[in-house]
């Protein structure tokens, strides 16, 4: 027996849809079997919450009188890209104020940057816009300094080129000398600790490993508001090795996400300061997966013990881009607090919040169950394992 998106949406509209979180789905399938689970359940909600550097806000601040064509702009001192139309700017999550000391005194603290400006905006705060232009006949003004907020701007769109990595590396430092400060956190020497960053069995693309239902046009929970998947994310690389259950054994798919910043919340959109590395934005993403048939019930029953992540040395293999992998560990092991690598017990910590991912999955479940949120049927699928899309390395040619 199979269902269509339209049939499921009809049930959501009538308030009859059966919606469960990915966590609950594991037990339902274990209990009743995939066939029966597929018959009973219409939608499974998945979620993740963690730092996603490839994020940013596209803002149209509006025209002053006289007008300006901004060629440089900062928001609370953080530079935004202004090489667009006159008063459009794109504020990247990892952007830093010009005068931030960065890693001059190592490790840098990176207390404030693009991610924090975005958090301030969604918190309803005013931020200071400073901009300059070279002046033209149609845009004569050369300087401006004023305060803007989500209330004053024409539009503010969260537009993230790469979010929600299907799977991710586990980082360790095999070096002997010093602790290293990476985007996966502080790694002490001689593999004293290991950090990972995925919601594992709750994570969207791990519950739809072949992108049967998540594609271009999928409506999602983004930062506390409503958003969409608008394209495969940058570095989308679905053709790597997969386990028998179809789940990739490394990075793989990514998604480009978009949504109106108005309506989002700082609970699910947080500036992050990563010592020695920089700033980022923690993004909360929730994606509903329609249980179209038995296969989708099987996919969404995947558990942490069946999902494997590669362990990578961020002391050498990662920075030098050698592609070397120390081994694979399951998310069940990672979440137990310690893993075994090369016969050694190594303490683990997550950087993605499982607690908040659970909260998002539950929230999205409520939205759908109340008929407030309909599923968006993809207009195109994301390139899959058969697409031949691979991650290219940048050759240094001269």
């Amino acid at each position: 027996m199979s269902k269509t998106f339209e049939e499921i949406n009809e049930r959501i509209r009538k308030g009859e849809a059966v919606v469960v979180t990915a966590q609950e789905m594991k037990d339902i399938v274990a209990d009743k079997g995939a066939k029966e689970a597929a018959r009973r359940v219409d939608v499974v909600t998945t979620a993740t919450f963690g730092p996603m550097c490839s994020s940013g806000a596209l803002i149209n601040v509006g025209h002053p009188s006289p007008r300006i064509k901004m060629s440089r702009a900062t928001l609370n001192g953080v530079p935004a890209y202004a090489g667009l139309a006159a008063v459009d700017v794109y504020l990247g999550a990892t952007a830093l104020p010009e005068d931030d000391p960065r890693n001059a005194v190592f490790p840098g603290a990176f207390t404030y940057g693009g991610g924090h400006v975005i958090e301030d905006l969604v918190s309803g705060k005013e931020v200071i816009l400073k901009a300059s232009g070279y002046g033209t006949d149609c845009y004569p003004r050369r300087e401006i300094e004023t305060a803007v907020s989500l209330k004053t701007v024409n539009s503010a769109t969260l537009m993230n080129p790469r979010n929600g990595y299907q799977n991710y590396n586990v980082a360790v430092n095999t070096g002997a000398e010093r602790p290293i400060y990476t985007y996966l956190g502080l790694l002490r020497p001689r593999m004293a600790n290991a950090n990972y960053c995925s919601a594992g069995q709750l994570s969207p693309l791990l519950n739809d490993p072949h992108y049967r239902t998540i594609g271009i046009g999928t409506r999602i929970f983004l930062g506390g508001g409503v958003g969409y998947v608008f394209f495969p994310g940058t570095q989308h690389a679905p053709c790597g090795p997969r386990a028998e259950n179809g789940v990739p054994r490394g990075g793989a798919a990514t998604m480009a996400l978009v949504g109106d910043l108005r309506g989002m919340s700082p609970r699910y959109l947080r500036g992050v300061s990563i010592a020695g590395y920089g700033v980022s934005l923690a993004v909360g993403v929730g994606i509903p997966i329609p249980i179209l048939d038995e296969e989708m019930a099987v996919f969404t029953s995947v558990r942490d013990g069946d999902i494997f992540a590669p362990v990578v040395d961020y002391g050498k293999a990662y920075p030098e881009n050698t592609g070397e992998i120390i081994g694979h560990v399951s998310y069940a092991e990672l979440r137990s607090g310690a893993i075994e690598i090369a016969g050694r017990r190594v303490r683990t910590a997550g950087l993605s919040s499982y607690a908040r991912a659970r909260e998002i999955a539950a929230e999205l479940k409520t939205w759908i169950a109340r008929g407030r949120f309909l599923l968006g049927q993809p207009v195109e699928r994301l390139p899959g394992a058969e697409s031949g899309v691979v991650l290219r390395k940048l050759e240094v040619r001269r």
Binding site: P51, P107, S273, A275, G337, A349, S353, A355
Partner: protein, 145 residues
Amino acid sequence: MIQKSVILNFPRKLVDEPLVSRVIRDCDVEVNILQASVTPEEDGHMFVIFKGEPANIGRALDFLKERGVRAILPVKNLVRDEERCVHCGACVGQCASAAFTIDKDTCQVVFDPDRCIACELCIPACGYGAVESVSDHLKRTGEAS
């Protein structure tokens, strides 16, 4: 008589109210202000020491909370800001004395001040400003306001 260091965060609408003098007068608590950044129209921050009977200090904290002031009690130079904590668990991986642990049921990160040995290894691990040293916390909140 006990002493307690307290960080007070005032939303801007409360900055003009004489809350500290009411703590002194109504709750019978001595207040020693170590650091303050209070400007009209902006959120205010204060680092103070309360001195008084435990019950009175409790009353003062309740009174401030009721009025909308957020009070954070540092533990051994550690400021744990519950509101900023996203429960990622990065601190747990650094904390060798199990002051930070993950609750198996809720998946939330919990902090047990009694187990904390003040090694401060957790501070650089937290990217969300949810565990900081007192001085870093005051610097950040002071600047941001």
